[in-house]
Symmetry: D2
Subunit: 386 residues, 4 copies
């Protein structure tokens, strides 16, 4: 019996933040979760103003996350937060994630999971030890047509996978935007806040996650060339990576933030012996299914012929486009359904458990490390190590 909405508390995401607002829309969309508390900023004034703007109870608007986690942990069961969403810049993921887990809260955290691989591993260990649910918001895995692609490839109908092309072109950092003080650009290009990588951490990890998620394969070796294109920038804003996968497949990953004029058209193409799939975010409700010897099929979201897991992640009938926010909301919905099942002592459907977690977080951080190591190396191939 789903007798109540889940209660969420948010860390970060105050007024002016981008991804915090997205998390809140995602969290609200299906009516399973209520944003109940928040420590939206380390600046007290911003924190309180954010809470007010979000029409939150003032008593549950905090000016620091430690206080929030401690006080909320002590609340009675019928008021206590169920889970914590952490949407701070990368360097501020680790501490609140660990404390939230410590206090027994389930956790949602924006990607990349942490500032370093070591942090990521520690989080993975902690998640395993506590047995709590953990969602890492690799948004793109929430798109139903990518779930359809994954399932189709897993079914073997295309034979062994041979090629994986994944690309993530953006253009918004074509100028030294951080010099203007723009918030997003400032922290994402700052090694103190973003981590060892810029573009590779911000969007390369998404592309990497997609490559592995949709193909069902793991990268075992790579050869990376990572660049700082815009003079004066402190972190990479561009790069490309040759990939080798566990089954012998090969591929290419391209991620750039200096492709001036590009928006955010993540795209993945995977080919097996008998055909291939193509998906891109600009046409997110469409999956092209290509065949060696017959016409390409255009799979569409919301149709009756989708595999169960893809259909489960659609809200509207065919032809009523869903987008980025719905993909994001799918992560939350599945996490919430899994959590409600746990609370209610029922068995979750497999589709509810299909969301990225700590393992994906560790692999993403390892991707960053391996890419940077490879990019600095004179040898062509670098083993993917964790």
């Amino acid at each position: 019996m789903k007798s109540r909405k889940l209660r969420a508390g948010m860390i970060g995401g105050g007024i002016g933040a981008f991804i915090g607002a997205v998390h809140r829309i995602a969290l609200r969309m299906d009516g399973l979760v209520e944003l109940t508390a928040g420590a939206f900023s380390s600046k007290a004034e911003t924190a309180m103003a954010s809470g007010a703007q979000l029409m939150l109870d003032e008593a549950r608007t905090y000016t620091d996350y430690v206080t929030m986690l401690e006080q909320e942990a002590d609340m009675p069961a019928d008021q206590r937060l169920d889970f914590i969403c952490i949407v701070t810049p990368n360097h501020l993921h680790f501490a609140p994630v660990m404390l939230a887990l410590e206090k027994g809260f389930h956790v949602v955290v924006d990607k990349p999971v942490a500032f370093s691989l070591e942090e990521a591993k520690a989080i993975q260990t902690k998640v395993a030890a506590t047995g709590l649910l953990f969602l890492l918001t690799h948004t793109y895995t929430g798109y139903p047509m990518l779930k359809q692609a994954r399932q189709l490839l897993a079914s073997g109908v295309m034979g062994t996978i041979r090629k994986v092309y994944v690309e993530y072109p953006q253009g918004w950092l074509s100028t030294l935007l951080e010099a203007t003080g723009q918030t997003q650009a400032s922290w994402r290009t700052d090694p103190e806040r973003s981590g060892a990588a810029g573009a590779m951490g911000d969007i390369g990890t998404h592309a990497f996650n997609l490559a592995e998620y949709v193909s069902g394969l793991q990268v075992t070796e790579l050869c990376a060339a990572v660049n700082i294109v815009v003079p004066g920038r402190r972190l990479d804003d561009d790069g490309e990576v040759l990939l080798r996968f566990s089954n012998g497949a090969t591929g290419v990953l391209m991620a750039t933030q200096v492709a001036a004029g590009e928006e955010n058209n993540v795209r993945v193409r995977i080919y097996g012996e008998h055909g291939g799939i193509e998906w891109m975010q600009e046409a997110a409700n469409t999956l092209l299914v290509k065949w060696a010897d017959k016409p390409t099929e255009v799979y569409r979201a919301g149709t009756g012929y989708l595999a169960g897991v893809a259909g489960h992640n659609c809200r509207t009938p065919a032809g009523h486009p869903e987008g980025y926010l719905e993909a994001f909301a799918n992560l939350y919905r599945n996490f919430a359904l899994a959590l409600l099942a746990r609370i209610n002592g029922t068995v979750p459907e497999p589709a509810w458990l299909d969301f990225p977690g700590a393992e994906e977080g560790v692999r993403g951080m390892a991707f960053i490390n391996n890419v940077l190591r490879s990019s600095g190396a004179t040898e062509k191939w670098t083993s993917f190590t964790i």
Copy 2:
């Protein structure tokens, strides 16, 4: 000061309903409204189960809407519903709309506004008399790129408008689906519940609304051919209408539910002396702006160069696609912002008032009447009368 969320009550939209679920997602998306009460079905059991599934307070889950409106009207100001969403089939719009207005509630109602033109006019009169806010959910007007198109055409940069093509092709009624008992098909093809028209009421009114909204013109004459294509069907499932507009422009409206293989790709093309615009729902984040003597421009949602009103109706940066649910939510958001401004005694921004209301409802019902009159006539042209 937006000190609280608006409280909404819903009539209709119980378990299994399509559009009720859409309204709830739209209503939730921006955190401005809380679904507080509901009379989701005239069947008591369904009504209560729906409330439970939606995690509503049982005390505010009603088994008939009259009771809901009466009891809620008597609640203290800090608990009383602010507005009522009416998402019942067409023949059940009028009575609850009128009672809600009578009781002083602002109203949201799904389109078409009523069962007949006479009802629509009575509603328009009532809305005017009460001064309450009234939102008719012609979803497509919520798309930011259509707002951009409207503004661009209104600016005069394309000169006088000459041609308006609007089409709404669906295929889901290619078979006698209602014979299988399918819920949506059953009521939409039933003259007792849907009204005088089938496809023309269901989707033709959307197309008509778009034609007038985006062009800024009004239809003055039309020539319609309306068909029942699938044998055994009781209402039209297909038709086309030649249009003449107030400024001398001409056009075509096509709406069909028997274009087998089509989903819901509403499309509008409008041409002036110097260029034209094209938009279709399958690529909802794109507006093609065509010019007689230079390259077509691809306007995109979420970009910095959008006109203010279009930008206001975007939630995400360029390249993060928004869709049908966000367009729907834009109607609710603007309605809610306007209502909050009224409650708070502040001046609403013009963009907040840009949502369809009673007048559009009356024109939509008049469209149905005029189309059916024309379709049955031997004369070519029928004046658009209200």
Copy 3:
């Protein structure tokens, strides 16, 4: 034994003409025909200069077509022209067509076949009487993917055809271009040279031809609204027509030359009970095949799975786009193959005979007449008469 190239003579198409140059490219493309003689202009100087530019034998460059037809008719069999291409403006089709047939030449003529329905009928009678081959260059029927569509619909796999939408939007006459003396605009908008109709004759007949060719149906009734949009113009530059077909199907034809910003994107959509087809010239190598209950299929030119007749009309493997000139050349190639078969006394393949002829010419002229009659009528429906 195809022991020689066919010899063609051209009437019209001198320096500066548009369609004459297209005919010549089409005629050359497959190496089956040689342009051997020409009367390219009624102005002697232009005629001779055109011949020289085309590197034609001066002895076979004529300054009037009557002389050409007479002299060429008297040539010995091994030099005599096989067929005549007539690419003059509409008002100058009839006389040379009739004389060419009279003299025993096979004929290719640009569309529309003549200046009036009466002329068209006379031509049809003459063609029948002489038994000569006659090609009317309705270019679009030369596209392989439309042949695929026709064959697919004819196979019955989509059930009875219900809807036919065909549109032909252009924008090049959005201004009073003829006032500048532009050649194409001048004769096409001149009732003395173009005929009773402007846009409806120039492009409406193409759309009409496509609707009937691809569907395999015939129009039996129509309801037209034809407009002169640009002030000062003498012939229609825009219009729309509701259609009723022989089998009960209905449809819409839209043709305009004042959709500013549009190029030439002819588009046809036809729906049966179980699915539909969509083709547009901007993506000419693709045919969308839509189904009520499974993914849309993307048929592509040059693939192995095409029906024989479509494959026969492709020159390159899949992915090597062919276009307008190849479609045009397909008409010539099929005509030439059929003619060579006749010359060689062999049996032509059915695919070679699949080109438009005198009957299509008569129906096209009848379309113009019926549309104009309907547009001027107060009754809604006009029977399609010949």
Copy 4:
């Protein structure tokens, strides 16, 4: 004074060959060239049958190319061939090219120019020594929208070029097609006939040529991974190459023949500081011109706003799609116009000289060598040497 058609002789391209037929269509299209002689096959029977099918004079149909070149060289000036087209498999380019040049014929040769870099260099030296015209048919450079792109990038309006992505995905070699005896597959995968590389020579060189041609840059370093994907194949059928350009730009080249379901969708994307261009063969008449701060512009072939060189390479007005054969014919047309100018002693327009020649041939062969060297190396970066 263009008083006559150029006379061409062809070596290779007999019945059943693919590219020979394409060359002939290209050569015919604009009426500047006549195929006058041929040595279409080393098999006498095929050679003669091919000549007959092409309606060639039997006296000028040869059974070996040496005889052809010798006899034709001795013909009187008014009959002598002007140029020779060599369309044999790669291993049979060098000897006829050298002999043709030796005999004083201008030369057209299919790409890659030769079997090895050494041969290519020898050809380049010979071309320089003889001063004869030399066309290497890198088809894609014949597309007008790529010429527009090149000119736009060269103008500097997009600032310094930063990124170059070029890809050439095919799927036709996804199976061991050569084992079935299929002609194209057989020689292209045979090291004795194709050369050191398979896919990299066949299509990688096209991609490489495009990257350099459109960007106006030269590759200076690369890092390649080349694969034999299909078991039993003897040459690479897949690979990817990281690129570094002369101005510091970086990029990626992907070429594969095992992307099952792909046709031939060559695609190039190049980004400068302020925007980028995107072109793909499947939409060959469109060039996307993207900007950092304003809407993407859709440049279209045949429009009035194209730069002169692009306009010169269009035959039809906007909206009448041209394709692969027209691109190919543009190479021939420009070559022919340049040759006619030389014959007539006039000054060729710069646009006529814009066709690939011996230098592109040498760079293409060097690309193959460098790619293979890099692919076998353990160091990441390999200098591009010639």
